[in-house]
């Protein structure tokens, strides 16, 4: 079921890293995906399938391209001047880099949570209602219900239900991050991208986020970038190891951590470099 590249092909710097899924429902299919900032190529021929309603972790040393990759899935990199993508990323079989893709509706289907929590300088309520409102929802009752539902899903409702109209900045760091998750859930995405969502949080807040990820995968396809090996092991079903802009190995999380095929993967997950 798992295929990985051999090192000779990797070193030749030509062949794509090929990892596809069999017997599994791929939500996101990446084929020969290259990405460059100006003349600097940061992703080389990425090939992988991300399964529906599972958690896929992207790991690898700093600068390996995992963040660039996750930001390619909702075309967040479009805002960077001179950025260029080649190859395809398909969601439900439709290429999101095709000319007829509407980036705005793509981003409503593919939510994102950032490394640094970024609540808007508005009330807790208005933060959650932001996405639905720009989507055209005006009905007060519908909005109230949606805000409540999203906060419950993000396991934040009980902590904030009595102060929905206070500033979002009054929340603690971990609560702010869960608010950002709730805000992303409020537009009802299918895919949730998380770029190191817990890297700025203390262990207790991190545990809460991880439990939340575990709950959310029933309904959402989750892709998470993490620097924390234990976290990848705890929350993810599948893990992809990136290095120097290439996908080195992609398999069940258990396999990656217990029985990796590649020497490089083993060295990385056992902490020999990083």
């Amino acid at each position: 079921m798992i295929t990985t590249i051999d090192m000779e092909r990797f070193n030749s710097a030509l062949a794509p890293s090929a990892v596809m899924l069999e017997n599994m429902n791929a939500k996101i299919s990446v084929r020969d995906f290259d990405f460059s900032y100006g003349s600097a190529k940061v992703l080389h021929g990425i090939v992988l399938d991300i399964p529906d309603r599972q958690v896929t972790a992207l790991i690898g040393p700093s600068g390996c391209g995992k963040s660039t990759f996750i930001r390619s899935i909702n075309r967040m990199n479009d805002i960077i001047p001179n950025a260029r993508a080649k190859g395809t990323i398909s969601i439900d079989g439709r290429d999101i880099y095709s000319a007829d893709t509407d980036v705005v509706s793509l981003r409503r289907r593919v939510g994102m949570v950032f490394q640094k929590s970024n609540p808007f300088p508005k009330s807790i309520y208005d933060n959650i209602a932001y996405g639905p409102r720009i989507g055209g929802m005006r009905n007060k009752r519908e909005l109230n219900e949606l805000v409540e539902k999203s906060l419950i899903r993000a396991a934040l409702w009980d902590e904030v239900k009595d102060r929905l109209h206070e500033s979002a900045f009054a929340l603690s760091g971990g609560q702010q991050q869960r608010l950002c998750i709730a805000r992303a859930l409020a537009v009802d995405p299918e895919v949730l991208l998380m770029d190191e969502p817990a890297s700025a949080l203390d262990p207790i807040a991190t545990t809460k986020i991880e439990e939340l990820i575990w709950d959310l995968k029933v309904n959402y396809t989750i892709v998470i970038v993490t620097h924390n090996m234990q976290q990848a092991a705890r929350v993810s079903d599948r893990t992809a190891f990136f290095m120097l802009g290439r996908l080195i190995e992609y398999a069940d999380t258990k396999t990656i951590f217990m029985n990796p095929k590649e020497k490089m993967t083993e060295d990385y997950v056992t902490g020999r470099f990083g």
């Binding site: 909702n74 967040m76 805002i79 705005v104 509706s105 981003r107 409503r108 939510g111 994102m112 950032f114 640094k116 970024n118 609540p119 808007f120 300088p121 508005k122 009330s123 932001y130 996405g131 720009i134 989507g135 500033s167 900045f169 009054a170 950002c180 805000r183 992303a184 537009v187």
Partner: protein, 282 residues
């Protein structure tokens, strides 16, 4: 002498020089305020606010028309400069590196340094000459031109201080670029932008030169912006240069009132900023 002793002496000298510099900077301010308050406050009376100027030679009367005139002129200036300046600042912060932006930025900085009398002449040529009549509109326009560069640069600088994460957050929720700017980025910078606008308003409220040949002066009551209009600054200028003791007394009162107007604008700026910032801070 030991090293430590020398160091302490040098430190003491440096400290006293700094203190002296502060004193020198504060003395004119304190003196100005002292004289304005001393002469101005005692010259203020109810008639000053409610009555029109009396004919030459008669004692009494007030500056009701000039007070209202100044408010109207400031309003015209703000109505013209604020939308224009803010949109311009938004453009600069959204396209910071474009050639056009750097030209606009340079132009705004040059305009900021242009003497206000030159701006007055410009408004005279553009608004007064074609209709051959002084008007409040021309005066408001001149003040607005003076306000624009300040509003543009404050707006730009404050927008660029907004953390880029907010923009990404909005875009990731499916906001278009303009939506992200107007619903998240501008509101985040709004307290600071408002302060900038009020500071710019306070600055032009005290301008005399650009009004001398635009709104000119008017001894009669008018709220018609197509007519010449009195303003506190020009009235103070006229009265202070007169030989009549009562006019000089009223000039002091006018100067005092100007200081109060600027003070009130600054206080409004501070209070409104604090209120708006409550959403930005815990």
């Amino acid at each position: 002498m030991s090293n430590a002793r020398i160091r302490k002496i040098i430190s003491a000298i440096a400290e006293s020089l700094c203190g002296l510099a502060v004193l020198i900077a504060l003395v004119p301010l304190v003196l100005i305020l002292f004289y304005v308050v001393k002469h101005g406050f005692t010259s203020l009376n109810w008639a000053f606010f409610t009555q029109m100027p009396k004919p030459v030679g008669e004692v009494g009367g007030g500056m009701a028309n000039a007070i209202v005139g100044t408010l109207i002129l400031i309003a015209i200036a703000a109505l013209f400069a604020v939308p224009f300046g803010c949109l311009c600042g938004i453009h600069l912060s959204e396209y910071p590196a474009s050639k056009f932006s750097s030209i606009v930025r340079f132009a705004a900085d040059v305009l900021n340094g242009v003497p206000s009398i030159v701006v007055g002449i410009f408004a005279y040529g553009l608004v007064v000459l074609p209709v051959r009549r002084f008007s409040a509109m021309a005066g408001g326009f001149a003040l607005g031109v003076l306000m624009i560069p300040v509003v543009v640069r404050t707006t730009e600088e404050l927008l660029r201080l907004v953390p880029p994460g907010l923009r990404e957050g909005a875009l990731a929720l499916g906001a278009t670029r303009s939506r992200a700017v107007f619903s998240v980025i501008v509101p985040a910078a709004l307290p600071g932008i408002l302060t900038g606008i009020l500071v710019a308003t306070a600055r032009v409220a005290g301008e005399t030169a650009p009004l001398l040949f635009t709104s000119f002066n008017n001894r009669y009551w008018t709220t018609n912006i197509a007519q010449p209009m009195a303003s506190l600054t020009v009235q103070v200028y006229t009265y202070a240069n007169s030989p009549y003791e009562d006019w000089i007394r009223q000039a002091w009162a006018g100067a005092f009132l100007l200081v109060i107007i600027i003070l009130v604008l600054s206080i409004i700026a501070r209070v409104s900023v604090r209120r708006l910032e409550r959403m930005n801070r815990p």
